[in-house]
């Protein structure tokens, strides 16, 4: 990167040292709150901040007591060795014992859960009761997600859509987190979180429209299936590259902060594979340094296409990466919808009230294949898949709990599944029959206003179609 050639004048070194040193030391909760809540502080704060920065870096100007440079005879004095010292970045205590921090702690970070495998509540006092209405809505949504996945996956197999990705096994992460958020929270998804959009009111018809790329698709037929996006639902359009949404999410959170919006945060989803990308590091680091209201939710489902987590990273999962950036983190049982709900609610509160990032690792399992282009039986044992599909099914566990409460039964379940099934089939049929987008949409939204080049190309295309109508079947295209 940049090579700096410095002349040996002192003021240059001073200048360089003042940049970006030890913000950690000076920013406290009250400092940030004051400067960002107070409009006027915008005028005052530059001096304030600059002054604070200079203060902390004074330490770097080597105000070290000469006795620290003394010879071996002073090594016997314990009081000297117990002293700390101000390095750039803050005060550290010295130690005379050389020890490397182990790459693994003795125990893995424990995983928070509320419901055990039999649907019984085992949590501590921190658990807050969920209402019947909310619980049944959550279960209904999980069923809808599952049924939608089944039929759209089938549609791809039948050649009616080109591609699909299911969220099998991750329904609890999807719906549990969605239920804990407000509609003002801005979602930056990876691509396996359609349940969040579903919760917010995106209809089955709207999902199908995007998959078929028809005229009603909000994406105007420009994206492959499952790349949903809806500004109305505060759900940012999905793009395929992994982890690009993380720095973007931090930027949006910064925008929220500048707006002084105190009742909303940004929620960025990612998978386990995502944590290997450079953008993960940038996003996490920035979120911490810029102190923005964001909740990072990592769906650690064990597999990134065919790469198991043991080949993805060597850390204790993703939760331990948070503290490395100075970010509060928690691990939760991703197959326990209640636990996910509790944790995301709490994380959201922290992010908003303290205006800082939070990392949540939800442990779960990707029951389905990575996508319709994948056959996961080629790289993992079938009994492993079956085990997670049957014995560890998140819907089954949640259902046991709501049935115990008398809020649900077999009849309601099959009725719900039937109704939803009919709706999904209907939606697919309607979407399939609908016209494709107008050819003119090829040229719109490239820029705010089309440039001359684009207008010329569009005119040229129209003329070509008029001259050769047989090459452009009228029933699929229209101008």
């Amino acid at each position: 990167m940049a090579l700096w050639l410095r002349r040996s004048s002192k003021h240059i070194i001073k200048n360089l040292m003042y940049s970006n040193y030890c913000r950690n030391n000076i920013t406290t909760k009250t400092t940030t709150a004051a400067s960002f809540l107070n409009e006027k502080a915008d005028v005052v704060s530059p001096v304030f901040f600059v002054g604070r920065r200079f203060e902390s870096t004074k330490a770097a100007e080597m105000r070290i007591d000469p006795q620290f440079y003394s010879s071996e005879e002073d090594e016997d004095h314990d009081d000297l060795l117990n002293q700390g010292m101000d390095f750039p970045g803050g005060k550290v205590m010295f130690t005379s014992e050389m020890s490397f921090i182990s790459e693994h702690s003795d125990k893995r970070i424990p995983c928070y859960r509320v419901l055990n495998d039999h649907g019984e509540i085992v949590s501590d006092e921190s658990y807050q009761q969920v209402s019947r209405e909310l619980a049944t809505r959550m279960h209904n949504s999980m069923i809808t997600l599952q049924v939608m996945d089944t039929f759209l996956y089938e549609a791809q197999r039948q050649g009616r859509i080109s591609f699909y990705m299911t969220s099998n096994g991750e329904e609890a992460v999807n719906i549990g987190s969605a239920a804990a958020l407000s509609y003002d929270d801005i979602i930056f998804p990876q691509y396996r979180e359609p349940g969040v959009l579903l919760w917010r009111g995106f209809t089955l018809q709207e999902f199908a429209n995007q998959c078929f790329g028809n005229r009603a698709d909000y994406g105007k037929g420009r994206q492959m299936p499952i790349h949903y996006g809806s500004k109305r639902h505060n759900f940012f359009t999905i793009s395929s590259p992994i982890a690009t949404q993380l720095p973007q999410a931090v930027g949006a959170a910064y925008s929220l902060k500048m707006d002084n919006k105190k009742d909303a945060c940004v929620v960025a989803f990612m998978g386990d594979g995502c944590t290997s990308e450079g953008d993960f590091h940038a996003g996490m680091n920035f979120a911490a340094v810029m102190e923005v209201p964001i909740v990072f939710i990592c769906r650690n489902n064990g597999w990134a296409i065919s790469t198991p987590v043991s080949d993805q990273f060597r850390s204790d999962g993703v939760v331990v990466k948070g503290p490395a950036y100075g970010i509060q983190s928690i691990r939760v049982d991703g197959n326990d919808a209640l636990a996910v709900y509790q944790v995301i609610r709490a994380a959201r509160n922290i992010a908003i009230s303290e205006q800082k990032p939070v990392l949540v690792e939800a442990l779960t399992y990707r029951v389905g294949h990575h996508s319709t282009s994948d056959d996961s039986t080629k790289y993992r044992p079938i009994d492993e898949i079956t085990h997670w599909k049957m014995a560890k099914n998140p819907l089954a566990r949640f259902r046991q709990w709501i049935e115990k409460n008398g809020w649900w039964d077999e009849e309601r379940d099959s009725e719900a599944r039937n109704t939803i099934k009919q709706e999904v089939i209907q939606a697919i049929q309607v979407a399939e029959r609908m016209e494709k987008p107008s050819l003119l949409e090829l040229f719109t939204d490239v820029y705010d206003k089309p440039t001359n080049d684009l207008q010329e190309q569009e005119t040229s295309l129209r003329e070509t179609i008029q001259r050769h109508p047989k090459d452009y079947p009228a029933f699929t295209y229209s101008l």
Binding site: Q248, N285, V446
Partner: protein
């Protein structure tokens, strides 16, 4: 000093650096959603002092010193642009934008289209582009050295022109100013533009001083995007250039004048959208074309202009189109090699003469 015809010579002159600084200042004052971020933009006053004084005036929320991750802060800028802010992302040089090119193209340029028009990205990416300072200080650098007594130099792999790279991508606009008036007008237009804009400056021009018109001093002064400027009118041959090469083209035009060739110099100002109309109209008048750029020859801006003129004004050409570009090698550092790797005024003069069928040893 430059002879600029068709403009009243006025007492006010400013350096490109001052022009950019004032444009940033005025836009930030006018619109509270505009903010600047990049490495060294705040406390250090900018790696090239373009953002001098802005941190003190607007505070650290609007002038953000970022950690060293182009990919990170570019992505962050895109995210901020999605939801209501107008970021100006500064790259220390455009070579470092390579680390962020995924975000520039996929997160910025394509998003309006791929979201079905739901998410617009009013972001500006700016910074120095092309070959930077060699060892020999040029005259325009003298005052710069006195004021800022240290120089940032980059390894030779880091001195490339990116106009053609970004110019090939739909969804992004690419601007490249030459004079101070260009710098002010185009940067203001870029910041106000709802589309993502790549703004290619030139380090060697920062210290150069140009006269500016009265109109250019106005806080609302904007130049139109997608319009080239005819810096010098002529009848015999058209020379197109952008950024630093405009200065070289003008010098070449002066030399050609003495030899009886009247050259028309076009300052492109806008790489994308390219002002094909102005270029073609000029070629239809002069019938000969020399295109100049600092970047690599293959798939360059000159190649695009060449193709455009071939398509639209074939019958008007009296000679093959001449391209003067940088050499097809990574940029060497040694002064003598650097000189050979970049277009020089003599190259432009010789090309113009060739286009005019004069005898010139090639």
């Amino acid at each position: 000093m430059l002879r600029i015809l068709r403009r009243k010579s006025l007492p006010v002159s400013m350096t490109v650096r001052e022009a950019l600084n004032s444009a940033l200042d005025e836009e930030m004052a006018a619109d509270p959603t505009v903010f600047l971020m990049g490495e060294e933009v705040g406390e250090y006053q900018g790696a090239y002092k373009i953002s001098k004084g802005l941190l003190d005036k607007y505070g650290p929320r609007r002038v953000v010193d970022t950690p060293i991750t182009e990919a990170g802060f570019t992505g962050l800028g895109c995210g901020a642009a999605y939801y209501g802010l107008k970021p100006i992302v500064e790259f220390m040089t455009f070579n470092f934008s390579m680390q962020a090119i995924d975000h520039i193209i996929n997160s910025a340029a394509k998003t309006y289209y791929m979201s079905g028009g739901q998410i617009s990205v009013p972001i500006v990416f700016r910074g120095p582009n092309g070959a930077a300072a060699g060892v020999g200080a040029q005259h325009s650098q003298a005052s710069y050295w006195q004021e800022f007594p240290f120089v940032i130099t980059f390894p030779s792999y880091a001195t490339q022109c990116y106009a053609a790279w970004y110019g090939s991508c739909p969804g992004v606009k690419v601007l490249s100013p030459y004079s101070s008036e260009d710098a002010r007008g185009l940067l203001k237009a870029a910041i106000r533009d709802p589309d993502p804009v790549v703004f290619l400056e030139n380090e060697l021009l920062y210290g150069e001083s140009f006269p500016v018109s009265e109109a250019a001093l106005d806080a609302n002064f904007c130049l139109p995007v997608g319009k080239a400027n005819i810096e010098r009118e002529g009848q015999d041959v058209t020379i197109t250039a952008f950024s630093k090469m405009v200065g070289y083209a003008l010098k070449a035009a002066d030399i050609l004048e003495k030899e009886g060739i009247n050259a028309e110099v076009i300052n492109l100002r806008s790489i994308r959208p390219l002002d094909r109309a102005t270029i073609n109209n000029s070629v239809r008048k002069t019938n000969r074309l020399v295109t100049v750029e600092e970047g690599f020859p293959q798939h360059g801006v000159c190649a695009e202009i060449s193709a455009s003129v071939n398509e639209d004004s074939f019958d008007y050409l009296d000679a093959p189109i001449e391209r003067i570009t940088g050499a097809d090698v990574p940029m060497p550092y040694a002064v003598n090699l650097e000189k050979m790797a970049l277009p020089q005024v003599e190259d432009i003069v010789r090309a113009a003469k060739r286009a005019c069928y004069g005898y010139v040893p090639k």
